[in-house]
Amino acid sequence: MQITCPYCGARDAQEFAYLGDATLKRPDPDLDSAQDAFHDYVYLRENPAGAHEELWYHSAGCRRWVRVARHMATHKITSAQFSCDAEAAL
């Protein structure tokens, strides 16, 4: 599998470290509901058998975080962009 890093171009997935689901949002620790919210954030996953937004770190390359849209059953990658750019666009 290759991931097209926005900075380095198409690179082998082995150059990247995998973190996982990119759609999780770290909850506000000051809220009353923080304990439940952190449980959901740390442990619960959608884990779809289809389109998945996920974070990969280009550890053997430019060392930037890349947000990749990948299909979990076919591994087809439909987009890869810097996670900061992706966050800003949301």
Binding site: D12, G20, V42, Y43, E54, W56, M72
Partner: protein, 417 residues
């Protein structure tokens, strides 16, 4: 028909005229007391023990494909009970005891072969860790023995003992561990459950759930029509998140792929199971002679039941570092199974989280060895609506309460387990 030497002789002389199918290919009835979703080893064992130990009769096991077509047919057939933590070890030791009596229990040859497992030691720190683990096993009633270098050499003379980076210093042996014929385990439980009146319904995919106004689960929607049930039990390793989504639930599970490999068949070489302590590599030899081995998960989430080349390379490197003669063998085949990786690497056997729903999931890459005990404890949980003492730690809410069972100490990052 009860299998016996007499029956083998009679059927052998009469062209198998009196043998029938080992289980019925049942059509679903409109309603059951218990529906078990998933016809793998765990689901069928659950049905068997529900009928045998708890006297329930109106039970169905419904399976999307054919029974044993998922991970039950894709594992590396090892059973062992060499765990460390108190939430795990008594459970796996009970599973070991069930394995030891399984063939008599089921009247079926599941080819249980207690050849032993050796976890190799490469450093002083690792020896300390294995001494601790061995003691923890003994405290739970399991067997363990620490081997020195000469004892390991006597068992496995062809290992690379003086590897410059990872010399072999000894090993932790569990002599009662071993392997079993994975398909026969499924068939044996299916036949046993069928004889107790359980309906095994194949080619019947669950497409949704029946719910009442309060949200309680009252049955399943399937490709062959709706089926009502007083209790619905999920035992669908690899597809747990997909079925949970039909119930608007999210589980502490990510799906990853684990590969396994078989070499060409050779004469008896590997006397049991052994594992590399420095890399991730484990190997045993099948009765047909092929060396069966595997290693790490493919490092990212996936539902593709096939593996990727970088992990194949990694596993082969681990094997070559430990056992250089492996390089003279040809690889015969390679496959991959879908692992329900839970967030702490330990399983979930629990009631809920919805009324009338029961969950057996998150077996990570260690579900095969647990098959008898998982069925035993899950059946108890379903029949009595309470956790079995041996699986009491496998609660779904342990992540909320902080009682995680993290054998490896990696944390909520399943791709690193």
């Amino acid at each position: 028909m009860r299998y016996s030497l007499f029956n083998v002789i009679v059927n052998g002389l009469t062209g198998n005229r009196f043998t029938g199918p080992a289980w019925r290919d049942a059509s679903p009835k409109p309603e059951y007391d218990v529906i078990i979703v998933g016809g793998g080893g765990h689901g069928l064992a659950t049905a068997y023990y529900l009928a045998k130990e708890h006297g329930l009769r109106n039970i169905a096991v419904i399976e999307k494909g054919w029974i044993g077509s998922g991970n039950a047919g894709r594992n590396t057939t090892i059973f062992r009970s060499n765990y460390l933590l108190p939430g795990n070890e008594p459970f796996y030791e009970w599973s070991m005891k069930l394995w030891e009596g399984l063939e008599q229990e089921l009247n079926y040859n599941v080819m249980v072969s207690q050849r032993g497992i050796v976890n190799l030691i490469h450093s002083d720190a690792q020896r300390d860790a294995y001494v601790r683990r061995g003691n923890a096993m003994r405290l739970a009633g399991a067997d363990s023995r620490l081997l020195d270098r000469a004892q390991v050499r006597a068992m496995l003379p062809w290992l690379d003992f003086d590897n410059a980076r990872f010399p072999i210093k000894g090993g932790l042996l569990q002599a009662r561990a071993g392997t079993a014929r994975h398909d026969a385990v499924v068939w044996g439980y299916a036949r046993g459950a069928d004889q107790l009146g359980v309906d095994i319904v194949q080619n019947c995919e669950v497409t949704g759930f029946l719910r009442d106004a309060s949200g309680a689960v009252t049955g399943v929607e399937t490709a062959r029509g709706p089926i009502k049930a007083k209790k619905v039990a999920l035992s669908v390793a690899g597809s747990s998140s997909r079925l949970a989504k039909l119930l608007d639930l999210r589980l502490p599970i990510e799906s990853l792929v684990l590969q396994a490999f078989v070499s060409e068949a050779v004469k008896p070489l590997v006397p049991g199971v052994f594992t590399f302590g420095a890399g991730h590599f484990y190997i045993s030899q099948s009765d047909k002679g092929g060396l069966v081995f595997g290693g790490d998960l493919d490092g990212y989430n996936s539902y593709a039941q096939r593996g990727n080349l970088p992990v194949i390379e990694d596993v082969m490197e681990g094997g070559m570092a430990l056992m250089p003669l492996l390089g003279r063998l040809r690889l015969l085949r390679q496959w991959a199974g879908l692992c329900d990786m839970s967030m702490d690497g330990s399983p979930i056997i629990d009631i809920g989280p919805l009324p009338n729903l029961y969950l057996n999931a998150g077996w990570s890459y260690g579900g095969f060895k647990a098959t008898p005990a998982a069925g035993w404890c899950f059946a108890h949980t379903i029949a009595r609506d309470e956790a079995h003492p041996l699986s009491a730690a496998y609660r779904l809410d342990r992540f909320r309460t902080g009682h995680v069972i993290d054998e490896k100490g990696v944390g909520a990052q399943p791709n690193l387990h």
